[in-house]
């Protein structure tokens, strides 16, 4: 096997343990793998960023805002968005090197399972959609690619709509038009939103608002990077 990131050969030590209990083949070599930092200890309970307090200041702010309070139950991310992951996501998403997602698979699956094992039994996985133009450009939707890694069925319940000309709209229109998503039909199950990066948390919250408008009781999110 070759390392997906640096192209070096990954040598496999054959021991009696792995002969009888084969591990899944490694996708990254021993020098690249440690550059990805799984988010593990002392995280904010709500957004899973590294934090000294159980809820970080950003999340405090979201939860004190009348409009956003309780919109998103919590977010779980897999890796810290460090410079290595930034490089890998850029090549994966913008250059379109689809196969790189496999480097994230193992840790993503375990993290997802640990966090959502119970919830996923009745929840629907919904990847954040791309606009048609972006989708054509990239050739794939990165959020769907992640959802597909997790081994759970997912449904595309959301649609991304074009903002249109901002200036011609009233203030009320503008506030609602800032939300780029639309939902068809109604939803009566919890939803786990899937996306590649949680930066400010605004995207998943916009999506959550739309889902709740059509009856969704609870919204969570799961992203690759935080």
């Amino acid at each position: 096997m070759k390392c997906l990131w640096c192209e070096d050969e990954i040598s496999m030590d054959i021991t009696w343990v792995n002969v009888f209990f084969p591990e899944p083949p490694k996708k990254l070599c021993p020098s690249c793998e440690p550059d990805l930092e799984p988010l593990k200890d002392s995280l904010c309970h709500r957004c899973s960023r590294k934090s000294d307090t159980s809820v970080c200041p950003d999340c405090e702010r979201w939860e004190h805002h009348p409009m956003w309070k309780g919109v998103l139950s919590f977010n779980r991310s897999v890796f810290s968005y460090n410079s290595t992951l930034q490089g890998m996501i850029a090549k994966w998403k913008y250059r379109g090197d689809y196969v790189l997602r496999e480097a994230f698979q193992e840790v993503s699956r375990t993290t997802f399972k640990q966090t959502f094992q119970q919830i996923a039994k009745e929840a629907i996985l919904v990847p954040i959609p791309l606009s048609e133009e972006r989708l054509y450009e990239r050739g794939f939707n990165q959020a769907e690619a992640i959802a597909d890694l997790l081994g759970h069925p997912f449904q595309q319940k959301l649609e991304r709509i074009d903002g249109g000309k901002q200036s011609k709209k009233s203030r009320k229109d503008r506030i609602t038009s800032e939300n780029p998503f639309r939902v068809e039909g109604s939803i009566n199950k919890p939803v786990i939103l899937i996306d590649d990066i949680y930066t400010t948390g605004i995207t998943v919250r916009h999506a959550a608002i739309r889902l709740k408008e059509v009856g969704c009781p609870t919204v969570y999110s799961f992203t690759l990077a935080r």
């Binding site: 070759k2 250059r95 196969v99 794939f140």
Partner: protein, 486 residues
């Protein structure tokens, strides 16, 4: 059909380019000649073609663009026709939202825009591009040495005749750029299109202003990763080899700088794209100071026409390396200690004003040995540099501007960089990274300036290798040849 075979690359890559359409559309249609110049000799993804869909479709209908399959499969193997990649690990599958099917894409050339199996590459088959025929395009006023002049004449002949391969075997510091001017001028006078391909971006950056000054009326593009103008529509193109990924049968003259550094990292894409960029009847000029074994044996078998330039432009011979045996050298270096012989030599060297360039085999040793050198030689302005050093350019500049007195380096500075007055030391010259070519190139860093045309080159080793012996022999052989032509 005549198919050109470049046997210098043969063992690496035996490719045929007969999938590239050669005909020209017979549709007659008034077209701005700059459109032909924009697309002629290019191999492009749709997204690289700056036309709206309507104009593009119109040109396709007239057969001015011809689609060719981008990724082909035969015998369980894929090949990317844009970069030549046929390694299994460098293809992957994508569930493509353009065509709604699952198919392969090329990972190798993805940095230059992704090649998908569902989309073709486009070749221009419209009206052929016409390039200006200037009578005297070159305004360079300098003069050539006898040896340079002989080479220049031979190069000119090859460029004018076409369909020729010529190797220019010129020592480090021979002044090869100036030897190309007459030939390029003659080619431009014939309305030919010329490309100079080099492995390194700094060479493009350095050569571009020199060419612009010497060919003021000729359209010219410098292409390298990160260069601003990527259209590459000029008559004279200076490019790093990677940039030729967008060309097919474009050039009447292709000059390949440092042909021996070519398959670097054993990357077969580079010869693949360079050969493809040449027209079928192109003149190929290979420049080298240190040809590889394979190239030398073609020369000896008279299978590759060669012209020698055995003297430097300032007329002085190449400094021949001295070998110095140090027992326990490995042990000392491991402990970050220096051989006594180095200190002894340093104290008594001929010209103590010269700066010092010290080559070591590994990054680790480069970093480790600096404090010891600083202490033992009592020098504070000393630092090390290696390939992944972000300050590499700055440090090279600092040495040039004499802000640094000693620079410890890995083989990355073996080529292309010129410092006016240095002595050169190789520590552990027996290490396998120092092959014959590397050692000759390293020795070639000394004595570059007419103001200080000599310099000491000293190899410290713990057992002489064939590479060392051959390097010394080949330098002496060139100097001998040089005495006869002067």
């Amino acid at each position: 059909m005549f198919q050109k075979v470049f046997s210098s690359f043969q063992s690496l890559f035996n490719s045929s380019y007969d999938w590239i359409p050669t005909y020209t559309s017979q549709t007659s249609h008034q077209l701005d000649p700059s459109t032909s110049q924009l697309f002629a000799g290019k191999l492009l993804l749709r997204q690289d073609i700056p036309l709206d869909e309507q104009d593009f479709q119109a040109l396709c209908t007239m057969d001015y663009f011809q689609p060719v399959q981008a990724i082909v499969k035969h015998q369980f193997r894929f090949t990317c026709r844009r970069c030549g990649n046929n390694k299994k690990t460098l293809f992957s599958e994508i569930p493509c939202s353009r065509c709604h099917q699952r198919h392969v894409y090329c990972r190798k050339c993805i940095e230059m825009g992704r090649v998908l199996a569902c989309e073709p590459l486009y070749v221009w088959t419209g009206p052929t591009a016409e390039w200006e025929r200037q009578e005297t395009p070159c305004t360079w006023q300098g003069s050539l040495t006898n040896s340079q002049q002989q080479a220049s004449d031979r190069i000119t002949k090859a460029m004018v005749n076409g369909n020729e391969e010529l190797m220019v075997w010129a020592v480090c510091g021979a002044g090869k750029t100036e030897m190309l001017f007459e030939g390029i001028a003659a080619a431009i006078a014939q309305g030919k299109r010329v490309c100079l391909a080099t492995p390194r971006a700094d060479v493009v950056r350095e050569l571009l202003p020199r060419f612009q000054a010497s060919f003021p009326e000729t359209t010219m593009d410098g292409l390298y990763g990160g260069s601003e103008d990527k259209r590459g529509t000029a008559q004279l193109i200076l490019a790093t080899t990677h940039q030729l990924i967008r060309y097919a049968h474009a050039f009447d003259v292709v000059i390949i700088d440092e042909i021996d550094a070519f398959p670097y990292h054993g990357d077969p894409s580079l010869p693949f794209v360079t050969n493809r960029a040449a027209k079928r009847d192109a003149s190929m000029i290979y420049l080298t100071a240190t040809p590889r074994k394979q190239q030398k044996s073609r020369v000896q078998a008279n299978k590759l026409a060669t012209v020698f330039v055995p003297v430097r432009f300032h007329g002085h011979p190449l400094p021949a390396p001295k070998l110095h045996l140090c027992f326990s050298l490995q042990k000392q270096l491991k402990a970050a200690q220096l051989p006594e012989a180095l200190l002894k030599w340093y104290r008594k060297r001929v010209n103590p004003k010269r700066q010092l360039l010290i080559f070591v085999p590994t990054i680790e040793l480069a970093e480790k040995i600096v404090p010891t050198l600083a202490e033992k030689l009592s020098i504070s302005s000393i630092t090390s540099v290696h390939s992944s050093d972000p300050e590499r350019e700055t440090k090279v500049q600092q040495l040039r501007h004499k802000e640094i007195f000693v620079l410890v380096t890995t083989t990355i500075l073996e080529r292309g960089v010129t410092f006016p007055s240095v002595d050169v030391v190789v520590l552990d010259a027996g290490h396998r990274v120092f092959d014959e070519a590397a050692l000759v190139q390293i020795a070639g860093r000394a004595g570059r300036s007419p103001d200080d045309p000599t310099g000491e080159v000293i190899f410290f080793h713990d057992g002489r290798t064939n590479a060392m012996v051959e390097a010394v022999q080949s330098i002496k052989a060139m100097n001998k040849k040089g005495r006869t032509v002067k």
